[in-house]
Symmetry: C2
Subunit: 313 residues, 2 copies
């Protein structure tokens, strides 16, 4: 399995992407410490370029393309942060990007993708794979997958690599899990240090939890969660990596996710999207198992609809 | 006028309060840079202890009390951040605090004050001065005024002192103005460096703008603004300091303040209260006068009602 990402791959990725991504700050919260009896550190990937850790993986993948590949341009489908991340990465490299987006994508997301100079192709959500295949057949563009890609995972791992550089002696790193790229990257870093990587997943879309428990890669449940970045099923590479590393997944309810999001807003003044608050929800729900530990949580993104924020004061 | 605060007073305050306040981070925003044609730096006092710069002034004032004064305890009235700040400061010093609060104060604010061990006394808002006077007559408590106090202003000035340490070669520092403590402190620091301190004020409560323009200390307009921390009239000491320093005030509309608040949320993922976003509103409205400059803006606080945030995803 050459697709397995190693600690060295993550270090290489960190050097490659450093000029193009933020070294995001780490926050603490006495409130979270007191309700968990742990010492909690929050890595603010909501402050990352494009508002999410996805910038790391996309930039690493696009910068890792050969010149011949790069000339063909990059294509992907995304209704969310990955599309912006790929558009941003291609702008850095100066190559064409085509992003397939759902017809009902919010204008602010479409504007962001187009703002990086990418071409947006709209299609009904169920036809996105088919439409992407057509584009690739015509343009020969390289597809950068949002998580089932060695270079993307290595890039996502740089969030955890920075985290352990910024905070000494962490016992565990908690990240949300959707497709599993961020958690797989964390796992590669954690294994090297002998610490735990832990996934946090909405229980209504708990395919990763069940897949790792049963050793069977289940598809996405098809349900909807407030953690709308986490609806996808676990990828093949993440499934292999997380199974081998025996990574634990903690599931949380919808209400727990929203409470975590609100708690972060009130206590840290940070805007974190529901998906991004899932790790904090897991800390709160499973606080007893972190008692006395130093726990790092990646706040994975901050792209939430704020159109009504501040309008009804 | 021994009440005038000097640069040296601010330096003394910084040393005094350093163990008890956060050295808040400075953020940048390409979006704000591009819409203003300035290079913009945002000092995140919304991430300060108690969620606002007020912690600085209150801690400096309470730590500056003589032991004899301190034993009498501290009292003040506040519906907002100053009450929390005084409660926090008194907890540090281990002395009693009494905060007069309006009967309709939000439970979260009352809880925060009580959480620091302070006594809350409720009374109708128009009777607050009278009720405070009664408490002082009985207890001999020292009153820490929210802005018309030398030590409070020196404490607030430490936000600007840190700012110029963190960012080289600022041309100007913009702060909101209500009573004028934060801006007066900024003025003391700015004067020492030969840079400009500028106030940002809601035009519906523009008594500071008119007071400095006319050389007459006008009372508060009595109107209400979304910038609910800025309704008060300019204090006597701030009026003297800002008049002498010839500090400019820029006024902004209610809509401009809310747009600034939303822009900060969307672009920097920071929760800033309307009062705290007033400086950014001024930058946007008066962008042409900052063209090509390096502009520091203090985001003064982040205490906004978030009870509905994240509930309707």
């Amino acid at each position: 399995m050459t697709d397995i990402v190693t600690y060295e791959d993550v270090v290489d990725a960190a050097n490659r992407i450093a000029p193009h991504v933020h070294r995001t700050p780490v926050f603490t919260s006495r409130h979270l410490d007191s309700i968990s009896d742990a010492t909690v550190f929050l890595k603010a990937e909501n402050l990352q370029r494009v508002g999410a850790f996805k910038a790391r993986g996309a930039v690493n993948a696009v910068l890792s393309l050969s010149d011949i590949e790069a000339r063909r341009g990059v294509a992907t489908h995304s209704s969310g942060n990955h599309g912006q991340a790929v558009a941003y990465a291609c702008a850095i490299r100066g190559i064409p990007a085509t992003i397939v987006m759902p017809e009902n994508a919010t204008p602010v997301k479409v504007d962001a993708v187009e703002g990086y100079g990418a071409t947006v192709v709209f299609c009904p959500q169920p036809e996105r794979e088919h439409r992407l295949a057509e584009i690739v057949a015509t343009s020969q563009a390289v597809v950068v997958h949002p998580f089932d890609d060695h270079d993307v995972i290595a890039g996502q791992g740089t969030a955890s690599l920075e985290f352990v550089e910024q905070v000494d002696s962490l016992d565990a790193i908690i990240t949300p899990i959707g497709g599993g790229g961020l958690l797989s990257g964390a796992s590669a870093v954690a294994a090297n240090l002998g610490i735990r990587a832990i996934g946090a997943e909405p229980e209504i879309v708990d395919d990763s939890y069940r897949s790792l428990r049963d050793g069977v890669r289940y598809p996405a449940t098809g349900d909807i969660s407030v953690g709308d970045g986490l609806l996808t099923g676990i990828g093949q590479i993440p499934f292999e990596m997380l199974s081998r590393a025996d990574v634990e997944i903690l599931t949380v309810s919808e209400e727990e996710i929203l409470l975590a999001m609100r708690t972060l807003a009130e206590r840290t003044k940070l805007i974190v999207e529901p998906s991004g608050a899932t790790g904090v929800a897991a800390l709160i729900r499973y606080a007893r198992q972190f008692s006395g530990e130093r726990v790092g949580i990646i706040l994975s993104g901050g792209n939430v609809d704020l159109s009504r924020f501040g309008t009804t004061e």
